[in-house]
């Protein structure tokens, strides 16, 4: 088992290293896309934690994403706060907001939570427009991208990509710590049966609030990085559809999978581009169809499908092996019998 774990860790480190070297091979605009993808992956990870591992429906991950983005943009342009500090403030603020929403969410059942988070997500662009004295309304806020350190000879976009990659790596490590071990068991116990979890001494309320706050923090962190990479925030980036994209990414990738979050992010980034050649609406059609079909046939998403496929394949192989050895055995017996007859 530990061997398996070590192998997984090695694999993870290798994947991280490969991703870190990727900008050497990729053309410039793909590096930019990949950076955006990493920020989406972080937001989706947060959604996975909340929905997949803790069973709380949220259609409002875009809310924290927007808040993170705007906090970074406003702090940098209006108050001259350095970007990394601004991102830290964004994470702190969204954690707090997440906890504040998590408390009333305790009283709500699944459908009620879905309704109110949907309405909240729909409200975001209006809020940005209403407070246009700080958010600059539709004209949005442009941000200066941070320069790479002088001693590092690299493109600015490569530097931003590496920052996002480091951020995503950090989030993956945090996720692994959270969903493995006792914390993960607590999270899942609350998801599967809160009453039983409570009777086993799990503090259900605290677990749920913490899950909400952490998930929101991921969303805010992702939004802050997004503002940095995109160097611009405006209400257009934070429509209700953004929350739906995160949901689609999380579900299609696999709601209880860390790898799934990255697969989902790749889809969310590239699907609109690929389908734009055929029709702008194709993205929506695919998202819609994928969400419905996934729920009908593959609730664990792409990662679930692949894992199931692999295990079926290995089953088949072992069966074939058994089968083969069995027929060998049979033929040996038949041979022995025929010899004995003689």
């Amino acid at each position: 088992m530990t061997g398996n774990k070590n192998a997984m860790a090695m694999l993870g480190v290798a994947a991280f290293a490969a991703l870190a070297l990727a900008p050497l091979l990729l053309p410039g605009y793909l590096v930019f896309q990949a950076s955006l993808g990493l920020t989406y992956a972080i937001a989706i990870l947060g959604l996975n934690l909340l929905m997949g591992f803790n069973g709380q429906i949220s259609l409002a991950q875009g809310v924290f994403f927007a808040l993170g983005g705007y906090i970074v943009a406003i702090l940098m342009t209006d108050y001259g706060v350095p970007i990394y500090l601004a991102i830290a403030v964004a994470v702190a603020a969204t954690t707090l907001l997440g906890a504040l929403i998590g408390v009333p969410a305790l009283r709500l059942q699944g459908l009620q939570l879905a309704i109110i988070t949907l309405v909240l997500a729909a409200l975001v662009p209006s809020l940005i427009m209403r407070f246009d004295s700080i958010t600059k309304g539709t004209s949005g806020i442009a941000i200066a991208k941070p320069e790479p350190p002088k001693w590092l000879p690299m493109e600015q976009d490569t530097w931003l990509y590496l920052i996002c990659l480091a951020g995503a790596g950090l989030c993956v490590v945090i996720m692994l710590r959270l969903v493995g071990g006792d914390t993960g068991r607590r999270l899942r116990a609350v998801r599967d049966n809160a009453t039983i979890a409570e009777s086993f001494g799990v503090h259900v309320a605290a677990t749920r609030i913490a899950a909400f706050a952490t998930s929101a923090a991921f969303g805010g962190f992702a939004g802050g990085l997004y503002a940095m990479v995109n160097a611009f925030v405006s209400p257009d980036s934070f429509q209700l559809f953004k929350s739906f994209e995160f949901l689609a990414g999380a579900i299609i990738g696999g709601i209880t999978s860390i790898t799934g979050a990255f697969i989902g992010a790749v889809i969310v980034i590239f699907l609109p581009e690929w389908s734009a050649d055929i029709n702008l609406a194709l993205t929506g059609v695919i998202y819609g169809a994928a969400l419905v079909v996934m729920m009908l046939v593959a609730r664990e998403g792409v990662v679930g499908l692949v894992t199931k496929g692999l295990s079926r394949l290995s089953d088949k192989l072992t069966n074939a092996e058994k089968h083969g050895s069995k027929s060998n055995e049979d033929s040996r017996r038949a041979f022995v019998a025929s010899v004995e007859k003689k």
Partner: protein
């Protein structure tokens, strides 16, 4: 004071549309415990179909009638194909399916008919009466009358017909109804079909003033969610009262409370939903759930 009355009249008309959509949501929730987030988008699709028939030259009322039938089939098909298979799954699964339908139907409308908003004819005359300084349009009266008619027909069907009784039974006791010969699946499918027709009517009433576009019903569904929450998710009467109340709260609220402003209209349903969920989660006319361990 005239201004307030004027706003109330406008609010009642808008509220009737919310009420019709909320009625669809409540019908579905009563039958299947599903909140159909896609109801508005399905309705938009129906209205586009109707508008297409008008372009082909069909008379308005015939087109409306045909579309109502198609909407019924659409609602029933959506239930059979996408909801029925996951009906016993946890709520988050069904929520995801409904969001998928939401995105999908909106995208289909965008694909077929484009993003430009189109005209849709008014169903009622554009006469305007003035009563004590308050302007009342025939259109608004027509919308209110339509809603009342819908509500009365629905109440009568539920109360006095065998199929209404069977639908109530199927919704209340899904597991036991088959023992008395009720075909539960058929009843639930029927419920989804009727709800789709109600959604279509709401969208057809809303289309002349909102203009027909793929995102037309996005704000309406938010208000309808607020209306159903306020009235209680199990109560058709609640949906109607809730819808009218939300409509009036919206128009009067945005006019009287200047700090809300036109941009924050959507804050009203949000605050309303929040308030109801924390003060009286079952809504005005709903019955409180009793938890069993």
């Amino acid at each position: 004071m005239t201004l307030v009355w004027q706003q109330i009249v406008e609010g009642l008309a808008a509220g009737s549309i919310y009420a019709a959509l909320a009625l669809a949501l409540v019908l579905i929730h009563r039958a299947t415990r599903v909140v159909n987030f896609a109801q508005g988008e399905m309705a938009t699709f129906s209205v586009y179909l109707c508008s297409q028939m008008l372009i082909w030259g069909l008379p308005l009322y015939l087109a409306l009638l045909i579309t109502a039938v198609i909407s019924f089939i659409l609602g029933a098909a959506v239930f059979r194909l996408t909801i029925r298979p996951v009906l016993d799954a946890p709520p988050e699964t069904i929520v995801v399916v409904c969001i998928g339908l939401f995105i999908g139907f909106q995208a289909i409308c965008l694909w077929i008919w484009g993003s430009d908003s189109a005209q849709f004819p008014r169903l009622f005359s554009s006469t305007i009466w003035t009563v004590g300084g308050v302007r009342i349009s025939a259109n608004n009266v027509g919308i209110l009358v339509t809603l009342s008619a819908l509500a009365i027909v629905l109440a009568l069907v539920f109360r006095f017909t065998r199929i209404g009784l069977a639908m109530r039974a199927a919704a209340a006791e899904r597991a036991k109804s088959p023992y008395v010969g009720i075909e539960v699946e058929t009843m639930l499918t029927f419920g989804w079909g009727v709800a789709a027709v109600f959604g279509f009517i709401a969208a057809a009433l809303a289309a002349p003033s909102l203009f027909l576009s793929p995102t037309m019903m996005m704000s309406v569904i938010i208000y309808a969610l607020a209306a159903a929450t306020l009235g209680g998710w199990d109560s058709p009467l609640g949906a109607i009262v809730g819808g009218l109340a939300v409509g009036v709260a919206e128009t009067v609220g945005t006019t009287l409370i200047k700090s809300i402003g036109a941009e924050l209209r959507l804050a009203i349903p949000f605050l309303l939903i929040g308030l109801v969920l924390f003060v009286r989660p079952q809504g005005l006319f709903g019955r409180a759930d009793k938890a069993r361990v």
